[in-house]
């Protein structure tokens, strides 16, 4: 399986010479004492961000009452989740998540390959457009799909009935298919974004060699392209599958009317819809799920151990695209179809609806700009935009920096503790958001009085960093897996310091992945509600909180206006980012 021969990792890390420089440089490059201190600091940071809130939740699962209330330790929470009913719901949840992850991953791989590895026309524009649904709040796309595909008066079904004369509907969004479809709307763009730069960084000479040896295009794709992508693919699968287990908006919106139950709706109910919130039940159930998910992480380690997936080496890295000939119009058509179904249909509804008094009532006398006016005149909205921008910029940058360091240590060194930090960075992904939000609340509020985190904007920032770390580490891990060690060595041999090497090789070559991770994290922060609602204080409202308030009050049209503005921002971000990537690649 090892495609490029490399010296053992131990050689590289252990024989690195001690370098002068600032404390940070020394901490991660030099003597073992400094390295030890550096690692300890990193473990402390990750411990505070991930282990501490989870420890509070673990307490909650083992104690009859939540922190701060008199009670006793017992296992009632774990006992109460052991029911046949829960097992059925769990099986159902896993089934739904698999049913969405497998097609999502397949489509995302195909799209990433088309955009990054072929000469499909307009692929630059398509790259930005096909990811748009990911950045829209799920409640909005849910509403749009509810309007498009409800069995009674859904637009698609009306057109179908009109065109065919049929009486039965063509599609029904309130079904298993609907739940899965709505989840796919988010996982396909997410996976695409997550993988596309790994595809871009592939060395085409490997594919060419395969073709020269007589392998067909399909065999080459399967045996070379996909295999080289194994770290990214397995990470993608896990991120998407675990998220699929935890997502609940789709199930709540489309599953409830059809009687579909998933684990997270059960957790949601135990916190929000019982006489008294049952935190012991909710946390116990979450930990049980987390245990199962960790098996997946172990499986990934087992899959990837001892293998190398380097494609970016010192030997003439020359990313180029495959010429598809007339087939490029087929791939183009596929992208356009995908764009039409997942973007034009739902977002078109939102856009259209934002100019009318009510969604779905498109008559001349209902035309209005009042929703735009209301949003622009809403001072709370602007305050939230400011807060969210500050939190997003700071949070995404800090998260990616942390993720890059963790990924670097876990992939490219043999330092003791690297597996520990890698698994610590996974933890927040495995806890359903609404439960983890409670964990942050308990953790930050229970800090000793003089530590001023709770009730300040710092509480939000720290929670966002913790929530974003799993994705940032995965993105950077994938990128570092692809960089060959000879690049680092070459730089060092030529007299560059560790910091220069990091900057010129590890940062410069991995920065497209860094940028994608940054955008994912930034918009993750923009959308985050579960923790925000429990941690925000007066004056530090975030955009998600304002959206929730507007939605709760029935201002769906105003929520759409904001959703569309968020989407515009994405287009700008992605355009800037992709222009930079292009400029860089042409320099190479």
């Amino acid at each position: 399986m090892t495609i490029i021969h490399n010296r053992p990792l131990d050689d590289i890390a252990e024989t690195a010479p001690t370098l002068a420089g600032n404390a940070f440089t020394r901490a991660f490059s030099g003597g073992s004492l400094w390295r030890l201190i550096g690692m300890l600091v990193l473990i402390l940071i990750l411990g505070f961000l991930t282990i501490y809130p989870l420890a509070m939740l673990l307490y909650g699962s083992l104690h009859s009452t939540p922190p701060g209330m008199a009670g006793e330790f017992n296992l009632n929470g774990y006992r109460s989740i052991m029911t046949t009913q829960n097992l059925i719901v769990l099986a159902n949840t896993i089934g739904i998540s698999l049913a969405k992850t497998i097609p999502s991953l397949t489509i995302a791989v195909f799209l990433a390959w088309i955009v990054a590895r072929t000469d499909t026309p307009f692929r630059g524009t398509l790259e930005v457009l096909i990811t748009l649904p990911f950045f829209i709040p799920p409640i909005l796309t849910a509403m749009a799909w509810g309007m498009l595909a409800n069995p009674q008066v859904g637009v698609i079904n009306m057109v179908w009935r009109w065109a065919t004369g049929a009486t039965d509907p063509l599609v029904n969004i309130y079904s298993y298919g609907g739940v899965i479809w709505h989840m796919c709307q988010y996982s396909i763009p997410f996976l695409f974004l997550f993988m596309v730069d790994a595809f871009r960084a592939m060395d085409p000479s490997l594919e060419e060699s395969s073709r020269m040896c007589g392998a067909s295009r399909w065999t080459t794709f399967r045996k070379i392209t996909l295999l080289l992508m194994l770290p990214v693919l397995t990470s993608s699968f896990m991120l998407s599958f675990i998220k699929g287990i935890e997502t609940f908006e789709s199930a709540l919106f489309f599953g409830l009317p059809a009687g579909i139950k998933v684990i997270t709706t059960d957790i949601y109910e135990s916190i929000n819809h019982r006489a008294t919130p049952d935190y012991q039940y909710a946390t116990s159930l979450s930990f049980a799920i987390m245990g199962l998910m960790f098996l997946l992480v172990i499986w990934q380690w087992w899959m990837l151990r001892g293998k190398s997936f380097q494609t970016v080496t010192g030997k003439g890295f020359r990313p180029s695209v495959m010429e598809l000939g007339p087939w490029r119009w087929v791939t183009f058509a596929f992208c356009v179809l995908f764009f039409f179904i997942t973007v034009v249909l739902p977002i078109g509804q939102l856009m259209l609806g934002s100019f009318f008094r009510f969604f779905g009532f498109y008559t001349y006398d209902m035309l209005t700009l009042e929703h735009y006016r209301a949003v622009f005149a809403n001072s709370e909205f602007w305050r939230a935009v400011r807060n969210t921008m500050v939190l997003g910029l700071l949070g995404a940058t800090a998260t990616m920096a942390l993720g890059a360091i963790v990924a670097y240590i876990s992939v490219r060194t043999r330092w003791r503790g690297r597996n520990l930090i890698d698994s610590m960075a996974w933890l927040p992904w495995m806890m359903p958001g609404m439960v983890l939000g409670v964990g942050f609340l308990w953790a930050f509020a229970m800090l000793p009085g003089p530590i001023p985190i709770y009730g300040t904007i710092w509480a939000l920032l720290l929670a966002y960093i913790a929530l974003g770390t799993p994705v940032s580490v995965r993105v950077m891990t994938g990128a570092y897996h692809q960089l060959s060690y000879d690049l680092e060595e070459c730089s060092r041999v030529h007299g560059a310091t560790w910091a220069q090497t990091m900057w010129r090789i590890m940062v410069a070559l991995a920065w497209p992945a860094f940028a994608v991770g940054w955008v994912l994290t930034f918009f993750g922060i923009m959308r985050e509600l579960s923790a925000s609602i429990l941690l925000y204080s007066v004056g530090s409202e975030t955009l998600a909180v304002v959206l929730m308030k507007l939605w709760a009050n029935g201002n769906a049209e105003q929520v759409s206006v904001i959703g569309l503005m968020m989407m515009l921002l994405v287009i700008v971000f992605r355009w800037v980012q992709l222009s930079f990537i292009k400029a860089r690649i042409s320099k190479l």
Binding site: F358, F361, A445, K549, G554
Partner: protein, 353 residues
């Protein structure tokens, strides 16, 4: 000596009686005339102190209502006290208050929430203070003077909504009982009665007042469940279903122009009573007292009545447009009882499988 002793004791007895009588009459006279004066003076002190505090931190579980800000602005205008508002859904905000207090962070002064939640704040979390007696607190309707420490403010009424394009005027349901008519089978969108919320409120009150048979009959109507109040109103308006129930009656004004009609059922409207509680160790206790009082006074009561909510102060609906007045004055049918919640939720889950 004996005589002397008995005389002394007689005098003592007499003087004690006299003193008691004097004190009693003084108390009576105080209760008759002075007290208003004394109370006024007391209240004046609260006003002074509240103004000095200058600020009020309000937590509210009534999310996204523009009226909250309108009321806060009116309060600031009246007393010069700034109001800072933190909004979150009932279970979230309750947990925040509980954890904050457990950690010794007494951040909030007043919590605007429902009667049922107040019982939990009081009995389980022990996070609220007893209610202060304020001038307006004695003027509200007796029905709204509660055992739990909540200063009642208004009721949220729930009724039936129909799509006028799908339901002919002659067929319109007029009462909760009409919902059980088999002609509505598969045509009703309902808030989920198996979880705390509007659907459960309907279940609780009709189960108690009409009976289990009725609820079972409705259950056999193949109701379609939802948990999103506002979106469900839109779905019904767009023609997915003929009926949506129970609907928050005060939303009628937001949906003007859509083919829908809000119906006040003949039996009356199930309701949720909202009010304020004073949180323990409030950082601005006097401002909090002023706010509690202000919310029960005519300014705020008229604001709520004007939106269709049921005021707790009598005589607030005078001069309102007929449709708003009808909703604001709708007969209150029933509400939930927190002490019976586990039992009733289990029942609902059993009936609406």
């Amino acid at each position: 000596m004996t005589t002397n002793t008995s005389m002394t004791s007689a005098i003592q007895k007499w003087s004690r009686r006299f003193f008691m009588a004097a004190a009693g009459s003084l108390a009576i006279s105080a209760a008759a005339g002075m007290p208003a004066f004394a109370q006024d003076a007391e209240w004046q002190k609260v006003i002074e102190a509240g103004k000095k505090e200058g600020k009020l931190i309000l937590y509210t579980a009534l999310v996204g209502q523009p009226s909250t800000k309108q009321i806060a602005a009116a309060f600031t205008k009246e007393y010069g006290i700034e109001v800072e508002i933190l909004e979150a859904r009932a279970s979230e905000i309750r947990e925040r208050v509980r954890v904050e207090q457990a950690a010794g962070r007494f951040a909030a002064d007043v919590m605007f929430t429902s009667e049922g939640q107040t019982m939990l704040y009081d009995k389980e979390d022990k996070s609220v203070d007893p209610l202060p007696v304020t001038p307006n607190s004695q003027k509200i309707g007796d029905k709204f003077k509660l055992k739990v420490p909540m200063a009642s403010v208004m009721t949220i009424p729930y009724g039936i909504m129909i799509n006028t394009g799908l339901v002919k005027p002659a067929d319109e349901p007029k009462s909760w009982k009409d919902i059980a008519d088999p002609k509505w089978q598969g045509k009703i969108l309902s808030d989920d009665p198996r979880a705390i919320g509007a659907g459960y409120l309907w279940f609780f009150s009709t189960y108690d007042k009409i009976g289990e048979d009725y609820v079972k009959k409705v259950a056999s109507q193949k109701l379609v469940f939802t948990r999103d109040q506002r979106e469900s109103q839109r779905r019904t308006a767009r023609g997915e279903y003929s009926i949506y129930m129970p609907v928050i009656m005060t939303d009628f004004s937001d949906l003007k122009g859509l083919p829908v009609k809000f119906i006040i059922p003949e039996e009356g409207v199930p309701y949720v009573l909202y009010g304020n509680v004073m949180l323990k160790k409030a950082p601005h206790p006097n401002a909090a007292k002023l706010y509690l009082d202000f919310m029960q006074g005519p300014v705020v009561q008229k604001i709520y009545a004007g939106l269709g909510y049921g005021p707790v102060l009598p005589g607030m609906t005078e001069g309102l447009p007929a449709d708003v007045k009808a909703i604001s004055e709708a007969k209150l049918y029933g509400t939930t009882d927190t002490t019976r919640q586990n039992e009733m939720l289990a029942k609902s889950k059993d009936i609406f499988k």
